[in-house]
């Protein structure tokens, strides 16, 4: 039986080469001799002949066995396709994303909720989620989450704080239920920060909310991209409120507070944005999301923008490495997430948990794959009253499985990317289950940057990775 070098990606380290196997997502350091063994099989050959005197023991045999076990060498005669298996269904829910309102007091230029790229018919549902709908949703989460001890609810919108009374009452309702069933409940919320008040801040920090603030950076960018409906800028309104929130959260030793930045063709430089948010305002982490848009919109990112973005990410990664080598964390959350996934050996059959452990709930109680798909009739997978439509859920998960994304099958980024965001694919190709081919080059460059950063930190301070031992 002939064996050949299996697909993998390398990053050069100081004394060894870091190798990430695509099929298994295992990551190992190989010395020069082990690397030579791997390269021996670039042209397929029969290991039994190659072993010679080392057939049963000896260095050649040991290296071969280790590389084969890691998925770095594989038989060419028995190419096993990616198994299209779903986990045992119905998969227990873990997270609900409640769209507590469709309304928003801002008028962001790139909004997918109200802009041209929305999959949903937001006029159909009520503007605010009712108490009744929210409780039904929580009941559904508890009912359909057999075997899970930890449950979470994420509040989303619209601008979530326009329905703060509901957030408060639903949280208390879920907490009481969790206590009765001896389960753990955690909450998260995304907000534009305009409506943060003393009362709201007190509630969120005392209930240990994971808080994500949508903010695009310094004044010029923020005011241009995220104005009030009236057109007035929001920067000077949100900044004092954010400072107050961060200070209170620190006192109470709350969960890290994140900034979530949408990067468009018109954004300021990413490093400038990072400095403003992390150093001047004090955010614990800053995450950047390239804007989702159909091609041709004036804010849509072009190839050149993506290149600049990658360069900026590269420089932020340098700062990250300096901190990591000194044993300090760094707030560049995209890189934190990527390093965690690399270190966990994450190998995804689906790009995210949408429709799997996570479902979105519309203001009217319709269940969608995630918060971006609620109220899109074609992607509905049930309702809070009728429960999850398991047939539709299953059909979607089968269609969206990476085994069906043929163009992903020879890509080294597959274990982590798995074809990318369903909503992004829907906007580009009108089909949520398509791989996001327009992002491939960028994703591969980003994975390379992650792998190189992994190598640099592992070379200098391997203890840094203990923080990624537990799954997030």
């Amino acid at each position: 039986m002939n064996y050949a070098t299996a697909q993998h990606r390398r990053a050069r380290g100081k004394d060894s080469t870091y190798v990430w196997a695509t099929r298994s997502a295992a990551l190992a350091a190989l010395d020069a001799e082990a690397l030579a063994v791997l390269d021996q099989f670039a042209a397929p050959q029969d290991p039994e002949r190659w072993f010679g005197a080392d057939e049963f023991t000896g260095e050649k045999r040991k290296s071969f066995d280790a590389l084969a076990a890691l998925g770095l060498l594989e038989p060419v005669d028995f190419q096993v396709p990616i198994p299209p298996d779903l986990p045992p269904m119905p998969y227990p829910l873990g997270t609900l994303v409640l769209n507590v309102t469709n309304k928003c007091n801002l008028s962001c230029t790139y909004c997918y909720e109200y802009g041209e790229d929305r999959p949903k018919d937001t006029s159909a549902g009520p503007a605010l989620m009712s108490e009744d709908t929210a409780r039904q949703a929580v009941d559904l989460l508890f009912k359909d989450s057999a075997g899970r001890r930890n449950l979470s609810i994420t509040f989303f919108g619209g601008e979530t704080l326009l329905n703060f009374p509901l957030i408060r009452s639903v949280s208390e309702y879920a907490l009481a239920k969790a206590k009765a069933e001896r389960r753990q409940m955690s909450f998260a919320l995304t907000t534009n920060a305009t409506l943060l008040s003393e009362e709201v801040i007190d509630f969120l920090t005392s209930h240990n909310f994971g808080i994500n603030i949508s903010i695009d950076g310094p004044r010029e960018t923020q005011d241009a991209q995220r104005p009030f409906v009236s057109g007035k800028g929001t920067h000077e309104v949100v900044v004092p409120k954010i400072r107050q929130l961060i200070a209170r959260n620190r006192e109470r030793r709350g969960r890290p507070i994140g900034a979530r930045v949408t990067v468009t063709a018109k954004s300021a430089d990413v490093r400038t944005i990072y400095r403003h948010l992390a150093l001047e305002l004090g955010f614990d982490s800053v995450g950047f999301a390239p804007v989702t848009s159909a091609p041709g919109r004036d804010y849509a990112l072009t190839g050149e923008n993506y290149f600049t973005l990658l360069q900026a990410f590269d420089e932020l990664a340098d700062e990250f490495v300096v901190a990591a080598l000194e044993g300090r964390g760094h707030g560049f959350s995209n890189l934190n997430d990527l390093l965690r996934e690399l270190h966990q050996g994450v190998n995804k059959a689906h790009p995210c948990g949408a429709g799997l452990g996570l479902v979105g709930v519309s203001t009217g109680g319709e269940l969608g794959l995630c918060h971006r798909f609620v109220e899109s009739r074609t992607h509905a997978i049930g309702s809070v009253s009728a429960g999850v439509d398991e047939d539709r859920r299953r059909a979607f998960l089968e269609a969206g499985h990476v085994a069906n994304k043929v163009s992903c099958h020879d890509c080294f980024a597959r274990p982590i990317c798995s074809g990318g965001c369903y909503h992004e694919a829907w906007v580009r190709y009108a089909d949520a289950t398509q791989p996001n081919l327009h992002s491939c080059e960028w994703i591969r460059a980003w994975m390379d940057l992650g792998l190189m950063t992994y190598a640099r930190i592992m070379d200098g301070n391997p203890a840094f990775f203990t923080r990624y031992e537990e799954a997030a």
Binding site: A28, A29, P47, S63
Partner: protein
């Protein structure tokens, strides 16, 4: 294990399956051979190096039975676990009774 160091959680889990190192791994031998061997396909060794059966170390009938019973040869035989549990029941001694083995059409 200086040559190949498993680093991430997945790699360490693979290494742990081989008792902390890869030294005893036998990548060419499946860890848990499936009963009936029907999950893999190989043409098998039903002939000797000359293309006949005269020089086989055991009779060809024994080979066939071994495929079924001990999974020693990786050739396809009916799956005796679920679909064809009785396919070899009338074959007490393969050398004598091999022709009584049922034909199974998948």
């Amino acid at each position: 294990m200086s040559r190949i160091t498993p680093l991430n959680k997945k790699a360490r889990r693979i290494a742990a399956r081989f008792e902390g190192s890869f030294a005893d791994a036998h990548a060419l031998a499946p860890q848990d051979p499936p009963l009936g061997c029907t999950t893999i396909f190989a043409p098998g060794w039903e002939v000797d190096s000359d293309g006949g059966t005269a020089n086989l170390c055991t009779p060809i009938e024994r080979d066939l039975y071994d495929c079924h019973h001990s999974c020693y040869w990786p050739a396809q035989v009916p799956d005796a676990l679920t679909n064809s549990p009785n396919w070899a029941q009338s074959c007490g001694a393969p050398v004598n009774d091999w022709s009584k083995i049922d034909l199974v059409f998948p």
